[in-house]
Every structure is written in structure tokens, then in C-alpha cells.
């Protein structure tokens, strides 16, 4: 009995030490706690306008977001940014996007599909990772976020996907999950 009491004491202590985050999982909430955003304000949440940014792609060319928005030299209907750290989950998402999402919308407007590499630290390393993972010469542009500037700006995370409309409005910013949400956004947005 002594040991049982001791165990309960240790376990309770551990629970209390981490109870802040722990309760989110022990008793998960289904409430919609999204904070309201002011439509048209600058930010990274759906409904907000994303601030312009510039990154190098894996071929050392400049990728400027505004170039792909209304008024830009290479306007697209939608820009899709996927944050990758070249992990199993990232690769599964990227493969799914490449083999399922991209072909589904191939004939519906112009879409920029970009992988944002935020871990490699240099354009050369991004190029090497892109090749090693089989995405060189694919439908993806691979961007090298050397200083984590876009990662921070868009509140990126492993496997998150951000969709930007041609007027710069964020349409989606969440985990890729099974691709259903991305597909729905593209279906709604593309001609």
C-alpha cells in the first residue's frame, strides 16, 4: 500500500507539473476558439492580407510573392505555400499534393505550388534536399527560407499549408492533414 501511495503521489506531481498543456489532450475541446480578424488587415490568418516577401528558390532565382499576385509579372490565380522540413510527414504530404492535388487542378487556372524549406539553411542545401526527395524538376517551386523570415511571418509549422488569393488574401493557413481542405479551397477559387 505504501508503494501505491508513493506512486500516486509521483504521478499526481507529474500531472500537475505539466497540467497546462496536458489538459488540452486529456479533455480536448471542440469549441471554435479562432480569434476574429479584421478583413483586409495585414497578417497570416484567413481573411487577412499577407505582406509581400522575397525568397530565393532552389535555382538561386528570386521569388517575390507580389510578382504572382494581381499586377505582378507572373500573376497566378492562387499561390500555395507548403512548409517542409523534409520529414516523413512532410514528404507524405508533398507526394500527395504532387500526385493528387496538382493533377486535379491542372487545367483550372494558374496555380503556383511552392515548397518552403525552412531547415536547410542555404540555397545549395535546399537544392540538394529537393533532389534527394525527388522534387527536382517537378510541379513544385522550392523556396529556401534561410532566415526563417517567411516561416515566422506566416506562423509556419511542419506540414502547414498557406493559400494566398491573387489579391493577397490568405484563404487558408492550417495543417495539410489529408488534403481535403486544400482541395476544397482550390475548387472554390479556381475557374
Amino acid at each position: 500500500m505504501y508503494y501505491v501511495k508513493k506512486l500516486i503521489l509521483i504521478f499526481s506531481t507529474l500531472m500537475l507539473l505539466g497540467c497546462g498543456d496536458m489538459m488540452d489532450d486529456l479533455d480536448p475541446s471542440g469549441s471554435d476558439n479562432r480569434l476574429p480578424v479584421v478583413a483586409g488587415s495585414t497578417g497570416n490568418m484567413p481573411g487577412q492580407i499577407v505582406a509581400d516577401f522575397s525568397l530565393k528558390d532552389s535555382l538561386d532565382s528570386d521569388f517575390v510573392l507580389s510578382d504572382h499576385l494581381d499586377g505582378g509579372a507572373s500573376r497566378a490565380d492562387v499561390v500555395v505555400l507548403y512548409f517542409t522540413m523534409w520529414c516523413p510527414v512532410c514528404l507524405a504530404h508533398s507526394d500527395h499534393m504532387l500526385n493528387t492535388i496538382v493533377p486535379s487542378f491542372a487545367n483550372r487556372g494558374d496555380v503556383v505550388f511552392a515548397l518552403v524549406d525552412y531547415v536547410s539553411g542555404s540555397v545549395a542545401a535546399t537544392r540538394a534536399a529537393e533532389r534527394a526527395n525527388g522534387f527536382a524538376n517537378s510541379a513544385f517551386i522550392t523556396l529556401s527560407d534561410v532566415n526563417l523570415s517567411v516561416f515566422d511571418q506566416l506562423n509556419g509549422a511542419m506540414g502547414s499549408v498557406v493559400v494566398v488569393d491573387s489579391d493577397g488574401t490568405v484563404l487558408m493557413n492550417e495543417d495539410y492533414r489529408n488534403g481535403v481542405a486544400l482541395s476544397a479551397v482550390l475548387d472554390q477559387q479556381l475557374p
Partner: protein, 329 residues
């Protein structure tokens, strides 16, 4: 004769303790990018009252298998490690019943070319109940009849509590993750047979995660949805040999093969084709037990071959474990 029976009993306890320690070093979903740090089950030796177990894992990552089962290297400049301190306790409830709990504390150490994150938190807690389908020690010195070949059979039920930090908690990013974020129920079977000095064990485990609501991803609130991780199956087979010193201390060497598979998850009822994984690994354990079998010290090296086909959608890792168990009579 009485002495021989006592001797058998002590040896049986020792061998089973070591076998159980080896067999239940289940491969964890340990990558900090994927969650992990779940505890392991403990098996209490027959006729003993309780057992403490303290172990420390060092898991180092080296590449991963993609969704086609091809092994892929990590990005250059990356150094990914996880450390786990596991505290376990098993207690006898009745002659055939025992219960155990295991709590890990997890440290994630991730170094990429332009990013370093060191984080730590408690992992997922495991609680188990085991039924022993036998009343006497099933270990024998000689096989004289078919009954001598009967293994010790254990049936187990487990519950994994999502006490770790998951992607659905208030976290900065994936490097903070130490748990899966969902409850899981498990049913387990353990077969153990010892014909001195040889030992063989087989285990199988089937687990089902409960569906949960999700309203947050990596700290950001999102439109709520329901998520259910895929069913999990793992099995292992091990063979061991025990050497006894003149003082009846024992040194047991065990080789084990483990197979782990998790099915695809479901999001709002729809299958997530990007999820699910598989991993195969082999492990070598060396365990030292004192003459009274009350203390067992172990070292385990679990290795996943960095070859195509040994896994899918999962990191390939080496896990080094040192641990000590103390049995209370």
C-alpha cells in the same frame, strides 16, 4: 528436490523479468516531428509483490522511410535526438493479476543547418493490467513431457493517456511534441518459454485510438474537426541465453525482432492517405541480475536498418537504453 524447486522458481523469475524487460521495449513513435515518448509496459515476475523500473533512452535519428518504403537521408547538417527518462512501477493485485504504470519524461534535441530547438516535457503515460494464465513457474530444465513445453501466457489490457505535448496543445511548433494527443486502448498477448538456459518470447499487441476533437494546430486555433489516429499493431519475437555465474548471478543476452504498424488516420471520418506507418527493427539486450534476482540492470540497442523496405513513412533510428529494475518480494 525442494531446493531444486526453489532454484527453478528463482531462475524463472529472473529470466522472465529480463524477457519482459526486453520484449516490452516497444518502438515508440519518437521523432519529435511526429510525436512520441510513450511509456512501455512492465511485467511483474510471478510471486513477487511489486517492481520499480527506471530506464533512460537515447534515440538518435538517421533518415527515414518515405511512403513507398524507400530510405531517404535527413537534410545535411541535421542532428536529431530524443532522450527519455522512463519511470515505471508494477504492483501485484492478486495471484494472477498485476497492474503497472509507466511515465516518460522526454527531451527533444533538434539541430538543423539554420535551426536549433531543445525542448522537454512529460510524454504519454501507459497504464496496464495483466492476467497470468498460469499458477506455477513454467520454466524447466529438461523437457520430459509435452506439459514441459507449455509457455507462460499473459493477457494484457492497456491504456495510453495523452499526457504528453501534442500538436494540438499550446505549442510553438512541432519540435515541442512529446506525445500523440489521443487516448489508446490496447490488448496484448505475451508468451514466454524457458528451457534453461534458453528462452523465447513472443508478444502481440493491438491498439485503437479514440477519436478526439481538434481545435488547435501548433498553437493556432483552427476550425474544429474530429481526428482518429489509425489502429496500431506491434509484435515481437525474441530469443535469449542466460549464463549463470558460480554465485548464481546471471547474464542474459537476448536478440529480438520487432514489427510495428499503424493504420491510416481518419479526419472527420475521411481517411488520411498521408498517414500510417510501418517500422521493423532488431534489438540486442544484455541484462545482469543479482543472485537474489531482486536487481536487474540492462542495456539494449535497438536498430532499424537504413535500407529500403524496412519501414514506411517513419524515421529510422537507433535506440540505446540503460535501465535498472528492482523487484520487491
Amino acid at each position: 528436490m525442494k531446493l531444486r524447486r526453489l532454484h527453478n522458481k528463482m531462475l524463472g523469475v529472473a529470466v522472465l523479468t529480463i524477457a519482459a524487460l526486453v520484449i516490452f521495449q516497444q518502438p515508440t513513435l519518437a521523432a519529435s516531428c511526429c510525436g512520441g515518448g510513450s511509456g512501455t509496459s512492465l511485467i511483474l515476475p510471478k510471486f513477487s509483490k511489486a517492481m520499480w523500473d527506471l530506464s533512460f533512452d537515447y534515440e538518435t535519428y538517421d533518415g527515414f522511410w518515405d511512403s513507398r518504403g524507400n530510405w531517404v537521408a535527413d537534410p545535411p547538417g541535421s542532428d536529431l535526438n530524443q532522450y527519455r527518462l522512463n519511470l515505471g512501477y508494477a504492483h501485484r493485485l492478486a495471484p494472477r493479476w498485476q497492474a503497472s504504470v509507466s511515465v516518460p519524461y522526454v527531451w527533444n534535441q533538434n539541430q538543423y543547418a539554420n535551426l536549433q530547438r531543445d525542448t522537454s516535457d512529460i510524454g504519454d503515460t501507459s497504464v496496464s493490467v495483466w492476467y497470468e494464465a498460469f499458477d506455477k513457474i513454467m520454466c524447466v530444465w529438461d523437457v520430459n513431457s509435452w506439459e514441459d513445453l507449455m509457455p507462460a501466457v499473459y493477457w494484457g489490457a492497456g491504456l495510453t493517456l495523452p499526457t504528453g505535448t501534442s500538436p494540438h496543445d499550446d505549442v510553438q511548433d512541432n519540435f515541442d511534441i512529446t506525445g500523440r494527443g489521443a487516448y489508446r486502448f490496447d490488448l496484448s498477448l505475451l508468451l514466454d518459454k524457458t528451457v534453461y538456459p534458453w528462452n523465447a518470447t513472443f508478444s502481440a499487441n493491438y491498439g485503437r485510438y479514440l477519436e478526439r476533437s481538434v481545435n488547435r494546430e501548433y498553437g493556432t486555433f483552427v476550425e474544429p474537426y474530429d481526428k482518429q489516429l489509425g489502429d496500431r499493431f506491434n509484435t515481437s519475437l525474441s530469443f535469449g541465453y542466460t549464463y549463470f555465474t558460480d554465485a548464481m548471478e546471471s547474464l542474459t543476452t537476448t536478440l529480438a525482432y520487432a514489427y510495428l504498424r499503424e493504420d491510416q488516420a481518419r479526419i472527420d471520418g475521411a481517411t488520411d492517405p498521408t498517414s500510417g506507418f510501418r517500422k521493423e527493427s532488431v534489438a540486442l539486450t544484455v541484462a545482469w541480475a543479482t543472485a537474489d534476482r531482486d536487481w536487474v540492470t540492462k542495456f539494449t540497442w535497438s536498430h532499424a536498418a537504413k535500407e529500403n523496405g524496412w519501414g514506411r513513412n517513419f524515421p529510422s533510428t537507433d535506440i540505446f537504453t540503460v535501465g535498472i529494475s528492482h523487484v520487491l518480494r
